[in-house]
């Protein structure tokens, strides 16, 4: 039996009677603070599984479910931001091969820990969303691919799945609808690349987590060469609300192109790091001051990484101008990504930050394709020499050239995930790099 400490002290929301801050908008996290929300009876008492009942008992057809999700304009919350309804509609209607729904719970993007709240505290919301999604795409089996390190969460989900079976929400002929569905928790074993859609599929197939060539695309040929949809935890957790309240209602939240709410996991130099749910479109300034409690120690903001370490860095000026939605962040050359925000104050050496990131990507590169395998190592070595040894101006040109040569040339975007930050740090903070040149004299 695995013993666990209460490890969510700083995972907001926290205390039982904590009221939401004015700027928060708890849609998914509405009942997060209620004890034992991971238990099915507590979840059901708050309207849990009503969406599933609505889908299977009305009954809604799979296409009607897809249409509702399309109408919500829900976009993938794992990082890519692809419209979920569209993704589901790519699955062929023919049944010559089994279909699969895979929940991507491999949360490994540095700065990201928001799925953990749902996995540990609101598993049934995700499970309900998965059953509905599987119904929509005709999948008889689904898997929660959860990163190996989240052992506690894996246990919580496993128990929740058993509860769902006992309640008749999983298994054969769910709610008398004729829809059969089996769900299984599948633990990863420590590889960031398994959070990539086809890397996850390879891993689930019992192989190294090597991403696959596209085409063919997973919707047509994915897990075991069958039609497969991979969705993020948060994306699936949003589905019950959308079914209950309608896709149109979801569009009333957020902005026109970035509908709904987003879970943000915030870390770094702020007073209140943690997980917060806000409507898309909230300004970063309000977010920082009202929700995050401002900069720690009253220091000045220097830079902000919005979407996990793979997102290009934003200057303080850009951050203060932006709103937290896909479009605004993209307009500053970055991306909303996973919503793993890291806030950096004036004391942070951004070259050292970049070096730390390069160590991460070097470690995590799967090694399958040459530009990433060799490039990630090369970038780390250059940055190491630059900061520990002698810094030369040629090193900067080289970093620019190497990172440029990695972008858009690889099987998956891990190479871009280090290359784009390298480019953005050098472009937006040249003085950080200059400092090392001056030191080297």
């Amino acid at each position: 039996m695995i013993k666990h400490t209460i490890h969510s002290k700083n995972m907001r929301p926290l205390a039982i009677d904590q009221k939401p801050l004015a700027a928060e908008r708890r849609v998914l996290l509405e009942h997060e603070h209620i004890p034992d929300m991971n238990k099915i009876d507590v979840y059901a008492s708050k309207g849990g599984y009503e969406a599933l009942k609505k889908v299977l008992k009305t009954p809604m057809t799979p296409d009607q479910v897809i249409d509702e999700v399309k109408a919500s304009n829900l976009r993938g919350r794992g990082g890519a931001g692809f419209p979920t309804g569209n993704k589901w509609s790519f699955v062929p209607k023919t049944k010559d091969k089994p279909h699969y729904l895979l929940c991507n719970a491999d949360e490994s993007e540095p700065g990201t820990f928001k799925d953990r709240v749902i996995l540990e505290k609101l598993p049934h919301m995700m499970i309900e969303g998965m059953i509905i999604g599987s119904y929509a795409i005709g999948a008889a089996k689904s898997y929660v691919y959860i990163r190996g390190e989240y052992q506690y969460a894996a246990e919580v989900i496993h128990n929740a799945i058993q509860e769902a079976y006992r309640a008749g929400f999983l298994g054969k002929n769910i709610l008398g609808s004729g829809f059969d569905h089996d769900m299984t928790v599948h633990r990863g074993a420590g590889a960031y690349i398994c959070g990539e859609e086809t890397g996850l599929i390879s891993s689930l197939e019992g192989k190294k987590g090597w991403p696959k060539l596209k085409p063919p695309f997973p919707a047509v040929e994915g897990y075991l060469r069958c039609p497969t949809v991979v969705n993020n935890v948060e994306t699936l957790a949003a589905v019950p609300w959308i079914i209950n309240n309608g896709g149109a209602a979801y569009t009333k939240l957020g902005t026109a192109k970035s509908t709904g709410t987003k879970l943000w996991s915030v870390s770094g130099d702020v007073n209140r790091p943690g997980v917060y749910e806000v409507e898309n479109g909230i300004s970063f300034r309000v977010f920082l001051e009202d929700i995050l409690g401002g900069m720690k120690g009253g220091k000045k903001l220097k830079a902000m990484i919005p979407g996990g370490s793979s997102a290009p860095i934003m200057t303080a000026e850009e951050a203060m101008k932006c709103t937290l939605d896909y479009e605004s962040i993209a307009s500053f050359g970055s991306m909303l990504g996973s919503g793993g925000m890291i806030v950096l104050d004036e004391t942070r050496d951004l070259v050292q930050v970049l070096k730390n990131l390069s160590e991460f990507y070097h470690d995590e590169s799967c090694g399958q394709c040459t530009p990433c395998r060799e490039g990630t190592g090369w970038i780390e070595k250059i940055l190491h020499s630059y900061t520990e040894g002698e810094a030369h101006r040629e090193d900067l040109k080289l970093l620019d050239r190497v990172s440029n040569n990695m972008m858009g040339r690889t099987i998956c975007v891990l190479a871009d995930s280090i290359a784009m930050p390298v480019q953005s740090y050098m472009k937006k903070f040249p003085e950080e790099f200059e400092r090392y040149l001056k030191k080297a004299g």
Partner: protein, 171 residues
């Protein structure tokens, strides 16, 4: 000269075999069960040694090389046993900014080992790992399966002491 290993026969316990057979029923391909079976085997045998790898290969109907590919690819699988308390320090970004590297170094110092090594009494292994998904409560160390968050040097000290007493916790 190429040497072919001497492989000894190992077997899951009755409980392990029961779990193994159950796992097979959850997947539409035998190979898909490989990662869960490796977790199971590592839990039961302590490490994925040559004997264990060959056993799993037979069970899943793969070549030992195919199983070894997977074992060496994923950080959580070990070919040698780790110490009773495996201290895994997150080294990435927010934890690094919060001082995790210093905590790792000081722990190595205190235990008299280098990063990646195990103490001679088999009690502690110290490794560096990548982002554990706990950035808001940085710095974080994972001891075996459990996260210990919001560490300070003092809290870490107490944690290690309690590990030495055989009951890890932050009092």
């Amino acid at each position: 000269m190429a040497t072919n290993p001497q492989i000894k026969d190992v077997q899951f316990s009755e409980k392990g075999l029961k779990e193994f057979n159950h796992l097979l029923t959850r997947y539409d391909s035998k190979r898909s069960a490989l990662l869960p079976v490796l977790h199971l085997a590592q839990g039961e045998f302590g490490a994925l040694t040559d004997d264990v790898i060959h056993y799993v290969a037979r069970l899943i109907e793969l070549s030992p090389a195919q199983v070894l590919e997977v074992v060496t690819f994923y950080h959580m699988f070990h070919r040698k046993p780790v110490g009773e308390h495996h201290l895994q320090f997150c080294a990435t970004l927010s934890c690094w900014m919060a001082g995790s590297h210093q905590l790792l170094k000081s722990t190595c110092s205190r235990l008299g080992i280098r990063e990646g090594e195990t103490t001679s009494d088999g009690k502690f292994t110290v490794t560096r790992v990548q982002c554990l998904g706990s950035c808001g409560s940085a710095p974080v160390v994972q001891v075996n399966e459990t996260y210990y968050e919001n560490l300070t040097p003092e809290k870490l000290n107490r944690l290690i002491n309690s590990c030495k007493e055989g009951k890890p916790k932050i009092p």
